[in-house]
Symmetry: D2
Subunit: 419 residues, 4 copies
C-alpha cells in the first residue's frame, strides 16, 4: 500500500490502533502532570525569547494536532477557537501568520482553564477519530498522530528546561518539585573513564527504519570513520570543577573564538546554573547548583549539565581530548561498556547540524519540522534526565545553537587513534 501524500513521507508505525490510543492517552496525561506543580503565573511567563511558557507548550501541542491531523484529515472537525491558531503556531510559515515568539509570555489570555478545555476538546476529537476512522484513512493518517506524540514529547522536555530557566531568574530560587522527579541519579564515586575503541572504516549510521524516526535521521547511509576511542561515561561535575579551578574560563587558548567572546561579554565563569561560593543569592562556602529540586551542593559524581557547546569544547581541549562526531557517537553507542547514553545529559558532538546525504524533508507543512534549521547549529546526541523515557534513540539528532546553555547538555570525551 502506498502512503497517502498527506502523510508527508512519514513511515507507517506498526501496531494496533488500540496501542496508539493508549499511548496517546499516556503522553497527553504526562504533559499535564509535568505542569501540575506549577501555578498559573509560573505557567504564563517567558524568561527569554528561546524559552516558552508552560501554558504555551500546553496549547501549542494541541494546536499541532488540530493543524496537522484534525483540520486536514477529519471532515467536519470544528476548531476549538479559530483565533488561537495565530497564537499557538510556533514557526510553520505554511500554516499562517504567528504571534511573535518573544511575546509568548504576554498571553495572559486565554487563561489556564481555557487551555485545559482546549486540550480536552482536541483529545476528544482525536480519540473519536482513532475509534471510528476507516482503515484507509487510518493507514494514511496514523503516522501524523504518532508525529504529534513525538512532538509533544519534545515539548515535555522543553517544559522542564524552560521552567527551570524561569525559576532561575527569580532571586528566591524556588524549586519546581516535580510530580515525577527527574533527578540526576547520584553515584557514590566517579569511576575512572574507560576508553572504548570505536569502529573504523565504513559504518552505517542513520535511522534503521524500525519504529518512528524524524526525517533528519534519514537516509541511513555509510560514513567512513578514522580510528577513535570514546569515553564510556560522561564528564562529571567534579571534573568540570577542576577545569574551573584551573582557570579554564580565563585561558583564551582553550576556546573557540566565538566562545571566548561570549566568556568575556557574558562573564561566564561556570555552567549556567552553578552558584559560586559566597554568592549572595544563596550564600554557602562551596559551589552549589540550582536545579528542578532547588539549590543543592554540587555532586562531584554527577554528570555536568547546562553547558554551551563552547564550554564543552573548551573542557575537552583542556582535558587533552576532543568531542566525538555524531557519527562516532552513533557507531559507538551499541558497543558493550558504553554507559549514560540517553538518561543523563544530551552530549554535544563536534558535528554541525548539516543534512545527511540524500536527505529530503517530509512534505507539506511538516517539511518545516527539521530541515529549515540545518545551519548554524550543533548536534547533540543521547538524551537527558528531562527526556521522556523511550523518546530518544541511537540515531536521534538533537540540535541547538552553540551558545545554548539552558538544556540539560553535557559531554562525553573522545580521542583519535587506537587504545
Amino acid at each position: 500500500m502506498s502512503l497517502n501524500p498527506s502523510t508527508a513521507g512519514l513511515r507507517p508505525v506498526p501496531g494496533a490502533r488500540s496501542a496508539l490510543a493508549e499511548r496517546f492517552a499516556r503522553v497527553r496525561a504526562r504533559t499535564l502532570a509535568l505542569a501540575a506543580p506549577l501555578s498559573a503565573e509560573d505557567q504564563c511567563v517567558q524568561s527569554m525569547p528561546d524559552a516558552s511558557p508552560t501554558k504555551w507548550h500546553l496549547a501549542h501541542t494541541s494546536w499541532f494536532f488540530e493543524a496537522v491531523v484534525l483540520g486536514p484529515h477529519v471532515p467536519g472537525y470544528e476548531a476549538f477557537e479559530p483565533r488561537w491558531h495565530h497564537l499557538f503556531n510556533s514557526y510553520y510559515e505554511a500554516l499562517g501568520p504567528r504571534h511573535p515568539r518573544p511575546q509568548r509570555g504576554l498571553l495572559t489570555r486565554p487563561l489556564l482553564p481555557s487551555v485545559h478545555r482546549y486540550r480536552a476538546h482536541v483529545e476528544a476529537a482525536v480519540e473519536q477519530f482513532m475509534a471510528t476512522a476507516d482503515d484507509a484513512t487510518w493507514d494514511a493518517v496514523h503516522p501524523l498522530l504518532e508525529l504529534g506524540l513525538q512532538h509533544e514529547e519534545q515539548h515535555q522536555e522543553l517544559i522542564l528546561t524552560d521552567i527551570l530557566h524561569v525559576l532561575s531568574c527569580n532571586p528566591l530560587l524556588p524549586a519546581y518539585e516535580p510530580l515525577e522527579q527527574p533527578a540526576l541519579r547520584l553515584a557514590a564515586s566517579t569511576p575512572p573513564v574507560a576508553w572504548v575503541q570505536g569502529p573504523a572504516g565504513p559504518v552505517r549510521i542513520g535511522h534503521t527504519g524500525e519504529g518512528f524516526g524524524f526525517d533528519n535521521e534519514t537516509p541511513r547511509h555509510t560514513v567512513w570513520l578514522q580510528p577513535y576511542r570514546i569515553a564510556d561515561r560522561l564528564v562529571t561535575c567534579g571534573e568540570y570543577a577542576d577545569f574551573v579551578e584551573d582557570g579554564g574560563y580565563r585561558t583564551a587558548s582553550l576556546w573557540l573564538s566565538d566562545g571566548w567572546a561570549l566568556v568575556q561579554s557574558q562573564q561566564w565563569q561556570a555552567p549556567l546554573y552553578w552558584i559560586a561560593p559566597d554568592n549572595p543569592r544563596a550564600p554557602a562556602s562551596q559551589w552549589q547548583v540550582f536545579g528542578l529540586d532547588g539549590v543543592k551542593p554540587i555532586d562531584p559524581h554527577a554528570p555536568v549539565t547546562h553547558l554551551s557547546f563552547y564550554e564543552a569544547a573548551a573542557f575537552a581541549e583542556w582535558a587533552g581530548a576532543r568531542l566525538p562526531t555524531e557519527a562516532e557517537w552513533e557507531a559507538a553507542s551499541e558497543l558493550p561498556g558504553m554507559r549514560q547514553l540517553a538518561d543523563q545529559a544530551w552530549q554535544w558532538t563536534r558535528s554541525s547540524y548539516d543534512p545527511y546525504p540524500g536527505y529530503r524533508p517530509w512534505t507539506g507543512a511538516v517539511a518545516e519540522y527539521n530541515g529549515k534549521f540545518m545551519v548554524g547549529q550543533v548536534v547533540l546526541r543521547g538524551g537527558s534526565v528531562a527526556t521522556p523515557p523511550g523518546h530518544a534513540r541511537r540515531s536521534y539528532r538533537n540540535f541547538f545553537p552553540p551558545a545554548a546553555r539552558w538544556q540539560f547538555s553535557g559531554l562525553r570525551l573522545a580521542k583519535d587513534g587506537a587504545c
Copy 2:
C-alpha cells in the same frame, strides 16, 4: 512643634487620627478592588520595562510602608519576608539593591495569595501603629503615612495604565472590565473651544501649603507670564482624527526632530491604542480604539488620550496653536469656565520637568521620590479617568519622558496674546 527629621521635610497633615485611619483602609481596599477583575496571570506579566505587573504594584505599595514607616519608626516590627525587600524596592538607592526593573515580570513567586497576605500583614501593623502611637511619635510619623497613601494612589493609576498595555499586546484584545468603570464620559457633541484669557505679569504658582503636596510642587514662587489664552476644554478624538486624516503623521514640518524620528522608526500613524480601519486584529470599517472596556468605535467627542508629547506638540502646531506652559496651566486652572481639568486626561505642557527655584528635595530615602528625575522629562498637568478621585490638585506636577504614550495623556491648546 518642630518636625522630627525622620519625616524628611514633609508637612504635617491636619486632621484626626481616625480620619487618616479611615482613609488608609479606603485606599488600600481600592487598590485590591482595581486588581480584582484580573487573573493571577494578568497580574504577573510585564509588557515593557516602563510598565510593572499588577502583583508587583500590590507588593511594592506594601514594601513602601515597610521601608519608610514600619521599619524605621515602629520598634519591634518584623518584616513579612526580609528577602522580598530586594524584589519590591523600585528605585531607592538608599534602601539597598534591587531586582532589575525589566525583570519584574519574571517574579512568578511569590504567588498572588502570598502577596495578599503581605498586604494584610502590613495593614495590620500600620493599623496597630495608628491606634497605639503616642502623640509625639504620631506627629513625627503621620506625614510619612500620608505619603504612603499618596504613593499608593499613584500606583493605582499605574495599575490601570500598565494592565491596559498588557492587554493591548494580546491579539485577542481582551477587556479589563473594571469593578468601578473609569470610562471616559461621553458627550453628545463637541462644543467649540472657548478661549479663556490667562493672567499676565507676576503670578504665584506652586503648592499653597494647604493639604498634602509633593516636594516637587514647592516652593510656591512668583513667575512672570506674558499674555496668553487657553482652551476651556481638551482636544477631542474627532479633532485629532482630522489631524491624522490631514497627513499629520506624514508632515515633517509639524514635528520636533526627535518626534519625527520616532514617527518614522516606530511607524506611528495614530494614538497608541487607535486601530485603523481594516486592521485584521479587529476588523471594522472605521477607526476604533482599544481601552479598558475593550474595542470600541472612536468617540469623536471624547478627549483624545494616549499621545506622546511629540504628538501633542505636533497637533498644536497643526492647529495653529501651542501647548501651555505649566505655569500658564496652573494660573488658568482657577479661572471660571475652565473645564475637563483633572478628570479626563493628563495634559502635556510645553514645560520640561525642571526644579522650581529654591527647590529642595525631602531628606532621607524619600529624597529620591521626585528630585532625581528632574531632567529629560516633560510636565503634564491635570489628572485622568484613571487618577483616583481627589488625588491630584492644581499644583500637581506629573512627568513622563516625551515619548511615553501608555498613560491617559492628551492635550489642551493655548495661544499667545489677548483674546
Copy 3:
C-alpha cells in the same frame, strides 16, 4: 522697509556691504585654517554619530550658502555638483533627503581637493553677489548671508570638538597642534570663588535686538528671579579632582537618576578626556588630560571641561551648591566681577532647552535651525576656548543632550539667597 519673506524673519544687520564682505572672507579662511593641521585621513573619518568629519564640515558650510542663499536668491547660479546636496544637507527636511548622519565618515569621495574647489566655487559666487546685488535684493538677502557666517562659526567650534574626539580614539593619542592654538589659559593659582549677588524680581532676558541673534534667543521678555548668588569664576580641574577623589562617581545620592545609570553602564570615573594614573595608554603617576595639544598633566587651576550635564549637576550637589538657571546666568553676566564668561568653557545651566514665551521660529527652511530641537536638551551659556572670538553673546543659548561630553563644557556654581 519691510523684510522680504524669503529672509525668514531674520533681522537686517547694520553696516556696509564691504564690512560683510570682509567678514565673509575672514570667516571662510579661518575654517580652512582650522583644518590645515589635519591630514586627508584625519578630515575624513567619523568617530561617533554625533560628531562629523572635518571634510564634511568644510562641505556642509558651503552647501548651506548654496541651499539658503545662492540657489533661492541668485538667478542663474549653477550648483557646483547637484548630487552633493544629498551628501551635505545636515537635517533640513524641507531641503530634501539626506545621507544618514552616522555614515558621514564613509564619504571618502569627494576627495578633499574637490571639497576645497567646492568652497572656492561657492565663495566666488557669494563674492560676486555681494559686489553686484541691487539694494533691494541686498536688503532682503544679506541677513541670510550673515546667518551663513554665524552657522559657519558654529561649525568651526565643532571642527575642533569633533577632531579631538577622533584623535582621542587613537591609542597613539596624537595631538592636533592647531595653527592658532586654542589652549586653556594657565593660571598660577586658583583664587577662591567670590559670590556675586544676582538681581531679584523681574528682569529682562533674551536678545536685545542689537546685532545678530538666533531665533531661539527671542523674544526678549521678563522673567521673575528669586534671590541668588553666582560664582565669579568656573569650577577648576583641581576642585573637580577633589570630587573624584572623594568618591563622587561612586555616590548615588549626588546624581540624577539617568546620570547614575550612565555612570554605571559607561563606567564613567572622570571627565571624558581625563587619563587616570597608570593607564597603559599614557602611563604616568598623576592624572593627565588629552587635549588638542596632546597629553598633559592636569592643570589644577584651569577650568574643568568635557563634562556631561549629569557630572556638572553631581559636582554642584557635592559642593553644596547648584547650577544657575539660564536666566540667572544671563542676568548676572553683566554684573561687575564676573569672570571667565565666554572664553573658557560652556557652562551647563539648570534649564532645559524650552522655547521662550512668544517664540516663533524663522520661516522657510531655516525654521528648522533651532526650534525643532527644543526638547530633551539642556542649555549651556557662555562660550569656550573653541568658540570663534566674537561669536557668542550674553543671550546666546547653546544646547546639548545631558549626556554629551565631547564639547568644551564645564560649570559655574550658584546658590539660593542673599550673600
Copy 4:
C-alpha cells in the same frame, strides 16, 4: 631533518631561497599595486566591523612578518614602532591585546606614508634574513615566511572586497578602477549546464602534501560519498534574475529559517550589489550591478556573486537541486569538463566548517590561524576574480558566516544520484 618547533608544524616548502625571495618581492609589490588606485581617505575608512581599511591591511600584513618571523627568529631585529603592535594585531590572543576590530577605521594615524615606510622596513629586514640566514635557521623559519606570503595573499583579496563595500556605501558610487582589473570575464552566451557524475564510495580528500597548505586542509583522509552529479559551471546572473523575478525572495518555503528572518529584517531583494530598476541611486530601466569598475548593467552570462549562503541555498532549492558538500566539490574538481573552478567566484557548499578527522592546529601563535573559527561558518570552495592567481587549490577551505555577502561568493549546483 626534524622541523624546529618554532615553525609550528608547517611543512617545509621545496625550492631555492632565491625563488622564495623573488616571490616575496612579487607578493609585497602586488599588495601595494592593489592599493594604488585609492586615495588616502579611501584607504582609511571602515564601512562595517567585518571589513577592514586598506591601510590597516597594508600594515597588518607587515605586522604579521614582524610578529611571527622577525621578532621571534631574527636576533637583534628592531620593531619599526613597538606601539603599533597593538594597532595591527588582528585576533591573535597569544600575541597580546589588540585595538578593537570595529574601530580600525578610526586610525587616521599612522598616516599612509608612515605605513609605507613600515612596509619597507619589514621588507628590508626579511630580505636581509633571506640573504644571510644559515641553513639550519632557514630550514626552520622559511615555512613561516611562506605562511606570511599566503597570509598576505588572503589580505589582497580582502583589500578588494572591503574597498568595494566602502565604495558601495557612497551615494556617488565611485569606481575602484584597479591597476590590474579583476573583471568578470564576459561570455557571449550561457551554455546549458552539463551534469558531471562524481565518484561514489570511498574517496580521499584534503591536502596532498605537495606545496603549501593550511592546517585546516589536513589531514588527508577518506570520506564516503553517495552517488551525485555536479554542474560543470556556476549559476549565472541571468539564472539568478529568473529566481528574483519568480518571487524567490518572497517565498518562505525556499529558505532556511535564519535566512528567511534576514530576508525580512534586512529587506533583501537581490544580491548585495544589485541595483533595482529605477533606484534613484543609479536610475536605469533594467537591473544593474555595482562592482569594482562601477555601475553596469547585469551581464546575464556572468556568474552571480555577492550571495549569502542563505541565498545560494534558496536558489538551489528553487532550481530543484542542492549545493554540493565540500567533499563532493573536491572529489569532482579534477574530473574532466569541470569549469569555472577557481577563477570566478567562491562557491558556497552545503558543509559547515568543522575540523577534519584527526585535525590538529599548528602550534604557537599560528595555532589561532584557522582552528578557533571552526563553528558557525560555512565552507566555500574554489576561488574568485579577486583571489590572487595561484593562491587557491583543490583542497582549499574558505569559510564565512552564512549571512556574509560582501565576498565574491556564488554557487555551483549539485544533485543526488546518477546521471
